[in-house]
Structures are given as structure tokens and as C-alpha cells.
């Protein structure tokens, strides 16, 4: 696919490629089609034994890899997305943000996401996926409402992603790292939600109404939700599913 190679070239050129409003159209359906074809409907098949699928760029998108490495790359991808988002928010602050405590908190969040991203990059070493190209053209960065809505979405999604990924990890050390990060994402989510709607930090608009717990998502579900922000085709077909 020509567009996939173009994306990879952009990614290889260094730094998360960024598309904002006014950019050319994305072909995101191709990326998602790849996801569905491989990972979507495995429920009645035998469990996959890990074949060490090497993470990295392939003809079928950036492969996250298998086993714990795959899950860490999955987390790395999400942290790349979040770090890029908050970096843009601070580079292009919405009306009323500059000089406020709110800006200081968003700067903190940006720093946390950068720390998370760089941690995974270092921990994964040669197994790390390349920089992803992101697309924030659906966000109006001059609008507080638009930016905070996107932030809330990403933070809640991050919590749901880590919570759903925990059981897929085989190493207790990796689970502990994921645990250390997810509670910080949850703090982010609570803060952002309260900015939008005071008191909504942990209400039933996000929590399961019966058990009052976060509703974890599978990697497929998460990548589907994040798809609108990620241009690079992500191949999650080798990720563990249970």
C-alpha cells in the first residue's frame, strides 16, 4: 500500500508525525481493516501460543509484537498519542489557558505522558515500535471545550486500556509497571473530568453503574477508539488475547 509506505517514511523521518486541521485526508479505514481482519473475531479459536512476532514496521503496518513485548508496545503507542496531544495543547493553547493554574496542570500531565512514553521506549529498546504519525485534525485547539473533551476521552481510554491489558501480561514486574502508570492516568482523568463537569471524576457516566468500577477494554476496542487520532497503521494481530 503506497500510503502505508508513505506513513512509515514520515515516521522514520523522526518525531511523531502530526496532522492538524487543514492537512490532507487520512486513509484510516485501511489501518482499521487490517486490525479487523486479524484480531477481531478469535473467540472460538484455540489459544495462540506465542510465535515471536518481531515488533516493528512491516508491510501490514507497524507490528506491536506478541507477548508482554506486544502489550508494552501497545502502551507505548498510547503514551505516544497522549504525549503528542498535550504537547500540541501547550504549543497551541486554547483561549484563556495561558498563565493559569489549569495550564500548569496540563503541563504536568504532558510531562507525565512524556515520562511514560520515554520509559517504554527505553524499556523496549530494539523492540520498540517507531514514532507513530498522529492526526488531531478533529480537535479545535483554540477551543477549551474541544481540547478538554479530547483529553477526557484519551485519559479514560488510557485507564480502560491499561486495566484491560493487565491480565494479558505474564510478568509480575510488567504488571506492576502498568499499575504504577494507570493510577496516574486515572488521576489525570479525574482532574480533566472535574474541569469539564465538577463532580464527574468518578460518576456513572464513566463507571459501571452497578459495581462503580472502570470498564476495561481490549486492545482491539482501544485501538478502534484511538484510530481517529493515529495515522500509522498499527498491526495488533500478534497481541495476546487472554
Amino acid at each position: 500500500m503506497n500510503n502505508t509506505n508513505t506513513d512509515l517514511l514520515k515516521a522514520a523521518a523522526g518525531g511523531a508525525g502530526l496532522r492538524l486541521q487543514g492537512g490532507y485526508s487520512r486513509r484510516r479505514f485501511l489501518g482499521f481493516a487490517g486490525l479487523l481482519a486479524g484480531a477481531g473475531f478469535l473467540s472460538l479459536q484455540a489459544c495462540n501460543n506465542d510465535d515471536d512476532t518481531t515488533p516493528g514496521p512491516t508491510d501490514n503496518g507497524v507490528n506491536l509484537g506478541s507477548g508482554d513485548t506486544g502489550i508494552l508496545n501497545y502502551a507505548y503507542a498510547l503514551e505516544q498519542l497522549e504525549a503528542a496531544f498535550y504537547t500540541e495543547v501547550l504549543r497551541n493553547p486554547y483561549t484563556g489557558l495561558t498563565g493559569t493554574n489549569e495550564e500548569a496542570m496540563l503541563r504536568d500531565i504532558r510531562d507525565h505522558e512524556v515520562a511514560h512514553r520515554e520509559f517504554f521506549k527505553a524499556a523496549l529498546g530494539s523492540n520498540a515500535i517507531p514514532d507513530l504519525e498522529v492526526d488531531f485534525s478533529s480537535i479545535t485547539f483554540s477551543s477549551r471545550d474541544s481540547v478538554l473533551a479530547a483529553a477526557r476521552e484519551m485519559e479514560d481510554l488510557g485507564v480502560q486500556a491499561y486495566n484491560g491489558a493487565g491480565k494479558l501480561l505474564t510478568s509480575a514486574d510488567n504488571l506492576t509497571i502498568a499499575g504504577k502508570i494507570v493510577s496516574v492516568e486515572a488521576r489525570h482523568a479525574a482532574y480533566i473530568r472535574d474541569l469539564i463537569q465538577p463532580g464527574s471524576f468518578a460518576d456513572t457516566s464513566i463507571l459501571d453503574p452497578t459495581n462503580r468500577i472502570d470498564v476495561s477494554k481490549t486492545p482491539t476496542q482501544v485501538l478502534q477508539a484511538a484510530d481517529k487520532y493515529i495515522v500509522t497503521t498499527i498491526n495488533a494481530t500478534a497481541l495476546p488475547t487472554e
Binding site: H112, A122, T176, V184, D194, P198, T210, S216
Partner: protein, 282 residues
Amino acid sequence: MNITNILHQLHEADPEFGERISPRRRVIKNFTRTVSLAALPLALGGLFKRAYGKTNDVIIDTLNLALLAEMLEVKFYREALDRAGLINGAQDRAEITLIHDNETAHRRLVRDTIISLGGTPRSEPVFDFTGGNGSGAGPYADVFSNYVTFLAVAQTFETNGVRAYKGGAPNLMSNNAVLEAALNIHSVEARHAAHLMMMRKRNGHATDIKPWLTLADPKIPAGPQRDAAAGVYAGEENTTQAGQNIIGIGGKDVSQAAASEAFDEPLTAAQVMANVDPFVVP
């Protein structure tokens, strides 16, 4: 969850397994009678209880510690809500009510999970929210008469809860459904903790506090109340993760403060218990 394959593999490994899950009518009856839909995956843990005792014991012990923390919080918030004049205003009251209701649901979920695993949920102790080991005269003597103290203790309880679930998670790895549920509770405790920190800011109790923990600073003024909570915050200053120094990692501008904030730290079961102990009447 790949039920079909799990059951197949289990039957291959343990031919008597098929007998354990019958009579089928009883299993199905339990599903509809006592198990909420949301807890359905957890009930499947009950299918394994007799075959995998040792691992199950660790899981049950871990959940019983979580249950104690949840019981503590439910009773704590209930008592606060019942204390006229303590909580400052309708918005604060609504938020404390929400937290109370969330913890009530968690307490039930953890208790049901223990039961579904064939375990015995611990009984609820009497609590001394002054932190006085039953004397009623601990360092938080004014916890229900002074809103400053109340919110600080609430922040401390939630922080201990986050770190307890985080520390206990590896113990639950052998049961995916239980681990997932615990993680889904854990993140809510973190939401609570962050929110309470902002309530303290909003009420003017701690002006430079943030929704995340900076270098293990609880933003409680120096004195007995801060000292008594030390065990809940100790270790949060950590800036090294899996051998990686987070400060300036990757050549990026990550300060010591940000590096400590970006990762929350677990507590061991013993540490969690030590933190809760002063609030439990022997």
C-alpha cells in the same frame, strides 16, 4: 475470555473437572440468583475453587485486605455524611456521597468475589477514625468536627487504597477475571484520591496541592497528623522505574517532581495493614 478452550484444556489436565462443575443446575442457579451480570466473570472463579487451593488462598487473603480497606472507607464516609455541619456545602456533600456510594459498591463486589472463590470474607471490625487504636483519642481526634482533618484523612485512606490494590495485583495474576476487577477498582480509588486533593485545594486547606503526588508530599502541615500518615506516602518520591532514571529520561525535560508524580508506587500487604491498623479497634 476464551471459555471453550479454557474448559477444554482444563478437562484434559484434570479429567475429574467435568464432575466438579456439576450438578449443572446448581451452578446455573447460583449465576442467576446471587451474581450480578457485571460480576458474572468472577463467579466462574468458583468453578476452580476446590482444585487450586493454594493459589486461591493468596488471592483470597489479598482480597480480604482490600475488603478491610473498603469497609474502612464506607464506614468513614457514612459517618462523615451523618455529621451535620462537617461537610462544606452541597457540592462537596454530593461528591463525598458519590465516593461513599462507589466504595459501598466496591465493598460488595470484593465480598462477592471472595465468596465466589470459596473463601470467607472477613468480618467488619469496629473502627476508630481518630487513628487511636480504639482509644478514640488518636492524632485525628477532630476528624469528624474539623473539615480540614476529615479531607486530609480521606485523601490518606484513598491513597492507601490505591497503593494496596497496586501492591496486591501480582497476587491475582492466576485469575484473570479477579485481576481485571481489582484493576478496575484500583483506578477508581485513584480518581477518588485525585479529586479529594482538589477538594482540599478548593476549600483552601492546601493551596499548592495537585491531583498527583509530588515527591511523597501529602500537603499536610507538619505535626502529629502528618507523621501518623507517613507510611501511606513513603516511597512515592521514587524516580527510578525498572532501572530507568525517569528524571530527564530520553533527554526530555522531565523534572524530579514530574518524575515522581508520573508513577504511583505499590505497598506490600504488611505496609497496608500497618497503615490501617491504628484505625481498627483490636
